[in-house]
Symmetry: D2
Subunit: 317 residues, 4 copies
């Protein structure tokens, strides 16, 4: 258990691990820059079994959101459905009949990437940019579109509940750098530059066993301790994701900063952060075959000006 | 130029190439079943340069849709933006500041997969299912969710304008099986079971050079002739996609059936069909390095009950 | 307490009070036909104090809906906001600055009229029309647009809790014809042809005092007994509304028909039904001045094909 | 034709006719304060024929919007439709069957009121309020909700094309105070405090006869000259509306201020402004019976934080 932390701790970490300018003043990729062509090619060579596992939860009205801050669950509408096919409503079309649909959803409603324009700390987002870059018309800089062809690399699963020999971590239970190291050792993987690290807390399994989302969205949760900042930076990972709403331990360790690791990692490192991944099937599979590394492909939708994107991440082994 | 075709031609092709029951009465994958673990592993071995190309157009209000049939372009809304960060509207949050957003869009508005529940012919969709399976609440069968971990395979680009030595095919210009064979030969690839074939017509380049979508959505277009049905079936491809609104040549060759190849391929073969891909960067790249095959990863969003999905397909070389 | 009722009771009432054809085979107004020019002019003469009371609840995300059946609460988005004004994002406009907004909402999410295309019983809606009249593209007949200039008449408040000397009726407490008569007598009004009758149950007050909607949407509620059907028909009222989600007592009195009075009144009489009105301010005012009748103006939005409409009803005294 | 005007003209008019503080520092009603109880009662006495005319255009995807600035036309979705009724998809419900629907629309998409939070000039909106009052969460001050029970008064139609003996005014044709006076004289009405004045340009008739909206939204239009500012203020009208997109003559008379009358009237007078009214049926009726005054009831939907509202205004004679 680390000593007490507060906004000054966050600021010190922010300064220490700040990557602003590291890849140039116009950079909008941040740590995704660690993914090199060699890294991509090497990651593809991890595919041996021809097995694909989706890490996305269903996008529907039964999702985790409560509507807080305008984050509701997806609303799916049919523009044309089977009733129209059956009733003759489409008889003006020659031969063919069809169904069509639409969706209204927050981009952060379910399995998602945060864009670098998503988070601000001390008035700035990644690469020393101010909030005027994001208007009601969307983000002019650090939008998710910068990543449209960038999220192909090695993925590594760190299964913390398996390490701790429990079904899931408890709400409020922090994950420390030593846990990450121990999970990597147990998985027989060495975290390397350009990796995307998937940290399983097991909270998604808890939700499923309980049969309700409860306070999953924004409530107490297991997750990364702020003290993982150095670990994230020093391993030069391209990004990380968890099976929780916000990746960090909640209650947060800093009483005067909400989601402090977001402030350090996203804003200062320029790190790719993923949330609300489901890692259950992947964890079962990795546990069974002992292989915790895989080709990881998780392209965002290139929504102009977006500060996040719904995704369906693919782990390919 | 083939002889005159009509609804009976479509019905004959439908019967001849019908895959209903081929993979069992409960199958919802159709030709995606041709993608085997061996196919996936082999496709991954095509990744040598570590290069990734996105095949999605931007998702925004400048998209191709006209609103016809309720298909409007995406509407992107900010739930929180930089103005809120700057004005103090988020001062109730400790330390962190953020932007958040939402989208309203038809699932078929831009780069997309059609689900097998999208198209009906003679009262049925794929695998002998009737329209009652798709209500206002969505599709109970043949929804896009069935494909959430299935679209990883070899992709092949067939560049027809390059073959024809023209910048793009004209509206109404049909692509025939011999064209597909010639393009494959020129690309030095042999189409194989489980491939996803990307057929470039160049219409996206025409749109860009003209600076407006014009009648791209639903208007006259180059595309596959109905006579390609046999080619699609006999090569056992998993799916195909084009850089046009509807993949088929428009005006259609059958006066009494709109989009007849949809009726044969999607409804009867159970084929995966992709639309509104941008193949320009990929074509330039393949033309430059002479490599027209690649790992292709294009997961749909697992939207419950959806009959299509926006996608950001990744060609990885 | 009436004897046990079931679907045959509903069918008998439906036959007895059916108005199909009464105003012609093409009629889409139903009981609103009882509002004559003389009625409108007389209603206007009730305006003496120049007082206006709104009967609508706020349209926002704190509304009564739970998302059940796709009925979520309104989502309000800013297309341009003060942050854009302040940040210079609108500096491309000469001089003027502005804010703009948008909404996504079910038409039945808050204070509303049901259109005659909203409800079906034994396969039909009002005036012997079948469900094929309402496709995914909306209602071709009995849509809310028919009422765009029709909802101006005398309104009468029947305050049942005041009659019963209690703050509100309990969930499951039925209102019978004798209660309506007694409330009218206490209010010194005679219900007349063309009136719109507002029946207060007090449930909205209960909700406010409790500080949460609880099961307001679709849960147990006070409301009209099915035995009020004769009363509604014989008084030739143009419509009625309540301060509850569904106007009828829930649990319903018919185990085999949900909302049986809807089936009799809307489907067979062609009656205008309003829901989720707030009658608290009006009841306080009527209690204070002893005047329970007023000019009532509640135009729906003329949304093409809609089966309901959000409204802001005005009681003018 | 007045002499050349520019931003200094606008500022001078703004100062001269500014009502900030006139009704108190907390006022959010502006000129609607001119509507007194006596005014409302007198307006009701204008109802003699029992005739109601709706002044709203249809809300649907065929509306006037082009999508510019995020203003698209309404999207209407069915949550349940006749196909569901027919197919058995609702057989889980006892007896009753139903249709339900939803809408996505800009609040300024069709017939509408501008809220006082809609427009800013020289950094302020009505009553000396700054843009920080309107965040992505909506307007805290000057929202449309302030008017939820305030728009009941005398309406007066000023039919300018009738005065000018032409079917409609041309795009770019300005309406001057003398025109308003002449139209009032022709209509035998004296504009009085608290009136809402409906100024017909005939552009809606032009649109209908042409069969397309053309540049109706934001393009060249007939409308009020900036020189009408004094007329609007000195008559103490509560508000005005036109049958055009923006009420003002376009091209505007001030090269350095877009919609200058908005800046004077809405921002400084606090005036209620309505747009995209259809006045055709009303004009025909007034022409026929010679009565150009009526009870006017046009309640906004009380959408929390909204800067405008769709409306269906009712002219009642």
């Amino acid at each position: 258990m680390p000593e007490a932390m507060n906004i000054e701790t966050v600021r010190a970490l922010a300064r220490k691990y700040r990557n602003w300018g590291r890849w140039g003043a116009t950079d909008e990729l941040g740590t995704v820059n660690f993914i090199t062509p060699e890294k991509i090619a090497a990651a593809a060579r991890l595919v041996r079994q021809g097995k694909v596992i989706s890490l996305a939860i269903p996008f529907d009205q039964n999702g985790p959101q409560s509507g807080y801050g305008g984050r509701n669950n997806p609303l799916h509408f049919m523009l044309q459905d089977g009733g129209d096919v059956a009733s003759g409503a489409q008889d003006f079309i020659a031969g063919l009949r069809y169904c069509d649909d639409a969706i209204t959803m927050p981009l952060q409603c379910a399995t998602q990437w945060d864009a670098l324009a998503h988070i601000y700390f001390d008035g700035k987002m990644y690469n020393d940019r101010g909030p005027a870059e994001v208007t009601s018309s969307g983000a002019r800089r650090n939008a998710i579109t910068a990543l449209k062809d960038k999220i192909v690399t090695r993925g590594v699963l760190l299964d913390i509940p398996r390490l701790k020999k429990k079904p899931w971590l408890a709400a409020g239970e922090a994950i420390y750098p030593a846990d990450l190291d121990a999970a990597a050792a147990a998985a027989k993987v060495t975290i390397a530059s350009g990796d995307i690290v998937l940290v399983r807390t097991g909270q998604m399994r808890e939700v499923r066993e309980r049969g309700s989302w409860g306070q999953y969205s924004g409530g107490p949760a297991p997750g990364l301790s702020l003290t993982c900042a150095a670990w994230l930076a020093e391993h030069e990972i391209a990004g990380y994701a968890t099976d929780t709403w916000g990746t960090e331990v909640i209650p947060n360790e800093t009483p005067d900063v909400f989601q402090p690791l977001h402030c350090v990692a996203i804003v200062n490192m320029g790190m790719l952060v993923g949330e609300i991944f489901t890692l259950e099937e992947l964890a079962d599979d990795c546990g069974a075959d002992g292989v915790y590394e895989f080709l990881f492909v998780a392209p965002p939708l290139p929504i102009t000006g977006a500060v996040g994107s719904p995704i369906n991440p693919q782990a390919i082994k």
